[in-house]
Symmetry: C2
Subunit: 253 residues, 2 copies
Amino acid sequence: MGTTQLETVPEPKYWHLKTVLSEALDSEFSVGEILPNERDLAARFGVARATLRQALEQLELEGRLQRRRGVGTTVAPPRMGVAVGTEQRAWPGVAGDTWQLADCAMAAPPAAVAGILESLQGEQVYTVRRSRVTRGQPVAAELLYVPASSVPGLSAVDTRSGTARARSVLRELQRLELEGQDSAVELGSARAEDAKELDRLPGAPVLVVTTRFFAEGRTAAVSVATYRADTCRLTFGDSGGIEIHDGPERRAS
Amino acid sequence: MGTTQLETVPEPKYWHLKTVLSEALDSEFSVGEILPNERDLAARFGVARATLRQALEQLELEGRLQRRRGVGTTVAPPRMGVAVGTEQRAWPGVAGDTWQLADCAMAAPPAAVAGILESLQGEQVYTVRRSRVTRGQPVAAELLYVPASSVPGLSAVDTRSGTARARSVLRELQRLELEGQDSAVELGSARAEDAKELDRLPGAPVLVVTTRFFAEGRTAAVSVATYRADTCRLTFGDSGGIEIHDGPERRAS
DNA sequence: CAGTGGTCTAGACCACCGG
DNA sequence: CGGTGGTCTAGACCACTGA
């Protein structure tokens, strides 16, 4: 029949709870404020702690909350806009950006990266680790893969420390004329290694940005950058990014 | 002391479980294959169902699995590359792309969008709903906000159906010379409305792409597109996207 | 209808942080 | 040390799918 579904739909408790909490965050809390602990909140709403947690998890996923073990749950500031693709192409690490060099080693790249680089099985590439810090917060951990053939000026046997070596790899890379680049963004979960750098627990949701750099008619380098999904909004394109003036004003309780 | 942390770290069960399952997916299952049900799997690994589910949730988040109520859990195909930003700028809906027009109405935009459009409080804009289908699968639901001032050729009182009206809004928009565009990507969870269009449950993880279109020295339109995070890899830049040849070959069990 | 994944409960213990 | 969030259990019932 053409009945228009009279909606007996019982909304899940955690979903309703999320909505209620979300509105409370807008109207009764200010950024940085600490929420009551999970056991109290659950009791207050008359649900099991697991159900309450399901609602909090979603709000954290949406960047509204920040939870830290041993500390508590706080109201998160609006997400930071982080530029990851600019119209004017640029090699990584150029100019005054916010990357901090960490390390460099020769290694065989993971299979997925090897496929992009079209490198031979087992071929070694320079693997530069960096981390990106914005407004004092770690926002991304990156692995940059550079085949030795892209930076012929370097000797493979290099006794300098990892950091110095990383610096010279980037410097050599910038000698090449960059012909283009493209990126892909997908959702992932933080590996244990990245999680530590990002100050999150393993498995935390992250945005994985894979960028190919083209020079001399081929893929000269590949970057795999892991951004915190809870605190970051990735911006691409002409301008510096979109400033979102979001919803009602946040006032203190 | 300088002890190098002998790592008593007890890895969470669900994390270990996820690793085991992930390897099993690579070696013993092929795309589309149905996994044993959750109760059986939990029993087989000697954990509670909730713990098993925590592992499955992560694998689904990473696009490795697909779960559907009443059906079962299947091995997901690799994520689709979906182009969302091209070097050559283009108005939305131009040429032979995969968007399906759905609807159009005049409405006051949400606060966040109003801020971007710099529109006056309460000003009405054309709101075009579209959905994007790739390889037979719904991948995105979009709301396109077009201030009436961007499409002066249209009469505000229009008796035609929503779809026809949507078409004419896009046609009028394409008359303008596009001067630039930029996008932002962030993680969100599907609103009930979008979830239905994307064939997912409410709250499912999505990638929200906010795009500004510039013309005549101002922001002429804003698009807010909601992509399925589990099945999509968003691509930006010169080329058609990165084809990932991922890990070991998948073979049937 | 039987079987699936989705929701929910009421507990327990653990890892971590700060005072 | 006490308090926080993180993990885990063993159940129960519900909503949906397909035969």
